[in-house]
Amino acid sequence: MAKKLMKGCEAIGEAAIQAGCRHFFGYPITPQNEIPEYMSARLPQVGGMFVQAESEVSASNMLYGAAGAGIRCFTSSSSPGISLMQEGISYIAGAELPVVFVNIMRGGPGLGGILPSQSDYFQSTKGGGHGDYRLLCLAPSTVQEAADLVQEAFDLADKYRNPVMILGDGLIGQMMEPVEFKKVINPEDLPEKPWATTGAKGRKPNVINSLYLDPEDLEKHNWKLVKKYEEMAKNEKRWEVFNLDKKADILFVAYGTVARIIKTAIEVLKEKGVNAALFRPITLFPFPGEALEETAAKCKHVFVSELSTGQMIEDVKYHLGKERKVHFYGRVGGMVMTPEELVEETLKIVK
């Protein structure tokens, strides 16, 4: 397929369709309305189903139902809406169902604002709703990567029978970049889901459930989930290392939009004689901690930057240990750092 110039939100919607997804359940919220709008126009053209739910609580439970029936489905929302979806997400994780969620993050807490933010890192990587569970969490940095990761997310969700969260922000959602859709999946070619509620014809009834009244059973279930997360950690960690030859004066650690702003800052720093590198986690859960350790060992300073008051930095510190000083620069509330700010902060550190 030829490259098309697309808004991030539209590319996410099209990627889902190309991945064989035909069902979307959602509710309007800025700054991701282009996704439901795109789906409401596109899905009827490909024989799919778009439902505007009465709320995000309802949308996430519609997904719980559809995924339980073995349907490839997804939704998108933005921070306050994702908070409302946590009920469904917790049940979906407990019942081990494959659903893809997209969070185009905006500033909080509460109603907050509508401009870009990365303040839902904790919510997305540490659980979010109640109970001991994790989402597989992917953070794109370009519109092309957003499209690629959405396509992949559906397969990962199926593989692990686990909800997958695509964590983007308002910049990724609103920005246009050239995109190419690399694979097309026909929904009819998707593998069968023998556990789904498709009608108990010639087999024992299937039950989709997260209730275990016997504590021994619930404990067993929880450890089984942990096994799954360990499996994800073994197979699915993804990251990018940028501009690291052998050694660097400073290593930036950042994800999503911030990482690409840093790439511009790295070019400017080069001109100023500072050799800077970037470590960009693509999976936020599982977090690529070992790769980070290895990379950081080659760099004199470590510098985390986020559109939050400091969330991912906790994972960075956990992996690098108490001995290692980790510098931080965050902008919040919808304010976005410029490459110039990052250069200035870097010069303070390396001097």
Binding site: Y27, P28, I29, T30, N33, P36, E37, S40, A41, P44, F50, V51, Q52, E54, S55, E56, P80, G110, L111
Partner: protein, 321 residues
């Protein structure tokens, strides 16, 4: 002779005043104001009878009229701040009516308003009373908390159709059913405005919105919800009315209904609910005067105006309305 004053830099050029004037007094200027809008001026000042229809209809409170030395005034319960609404949006008119009701009952100092999420999310800046911002749809629950905690206060919520009839349906129905002594102002413009024109639970059959680009299909989305009719079926006593503000007559009726709704709360009688049919010129893709006409020609037939329930009479039959 009456005199019309236009505060030109408050004007957003919606032309609703020009349309409503029964004597053709007002015309739009050829020059633009500081915001880049054309504004009205009294082209035929001699024709003015001082009816003040232009004052009532101006969503931006940009017009005042002097009659026999008495100048119309901005309601005290309405803040000075200019509203952010699009040109010609009825929110401004409805804000004014709510503020007038508060003024006329002398309750400004004991009223607390609850603002929603939607176009009127910033309503907390527009009323000169204490305000509480709620999360999407939960205004009746927040209002319940305020009223149960401080029953001496007069508590109202101001909500749009997505907020009240979609995500907040449960809170809306249960607050009404518990008979909370609160006043709910429900602004129904058949669309989600703030987020860019998506389908609302009150979007009319066949009406195009950004999430029903082929028109609302009642087989997939159901029929638009008539909130007033739905709530009147609850056994708990209540005051429930539907009004509109598309012309002088309906604005006067709306003013009376909103005042009555607050009055029932002041007297501690019952829950009160006023649905106001409103416009979204931006989301509907119409000029403000055309949008006002569309309310009359397309919304009123589906959403009939009138009192639906009254604490004295119970459910009002259609023939009595």
């Amino acid at each position: 002779m009456p005199t019309v004053f236009v505060e030109k830099d408050r004007c957003k050029g919606c032309t609703l005043c020009v349309e409503i004037c029964p004597h053709g007094v007002l015309e739009m200027s050829k020059e633009i104001n500081a915001k880049g809008y054309f504004f009205p001026f009294a082209a035929k000042p001699d024709e003015c009878t001082g009816c003040r229809n232009c004052v009532m209809v101006c969503p931006d409170c940009a017009i005042q009229v002097e009659v026999k030395g008495k100048v119309s005034e901005r309601p005290k319960a309405l803040a000075e701040k200019q509203v952010h609404y699009c040109p010609g949006c009825h929110h401004g008119i409805i804000h004014r009516l709510v503020a007038e009701a508060i003024d006329s009952l002398g309750i400004q100092e004991k009223t607390v308003g609850v603002a929603p999420v939607g176009c009127s999310v910033l309503a907390y800046d527009y009323f000169n009373v204490d305000m509480h911002e709620a999360s999407h749809g939960r205004a009746p629950a927040v209002a319940t908390g305020i009223k149960r905690g401080r029953p001496d206060l007069i508590v109202f919520s101001y909500q749009g159709d997505g907020d009240l009839a979609s995500i907040g349906m449960a809170e809306t129905v249960h607050a009404a059913n518990r008979g909370e002594k609160i006043t709910v102002i429900f602004v129904n413009n058949a669309i989600y405005g703030m987020t860019g024109g998506q389908m609302a639970p009150t979007t009319l059959p066949g009406q195009v919105a950004t999430t029903c680009p082929y028109g609302r299909d009642v087989n997939l989305a159901g029929y638009p919800i008539r909130m007033s009719e739905l709530l009147k079926e609850l056994k708990t006593p209540a005051y429930i009315a539907r009004v509109a503000v598309y012309d002088a007559k309906t604005i006067v009726q709306a003013k009376l209904a909103i005042k009555k709704a607050f009055d029932y709360q002041v007297k501690g009688v019952c829950y009160s609910f006023v649905e106001v049919l409103s416009t979204c010129p931006t989301g509907w893709g119409m000029t403000p005067p055309d949008a006002s006409k569309w309310v009359e020609s397309n919304m009123v037939p589906y959403y009939p105006l009138g009192e639906f329930k009254n604490p004295d009479k119970g459910v009002v039959k259609e023939t009595e309305r």
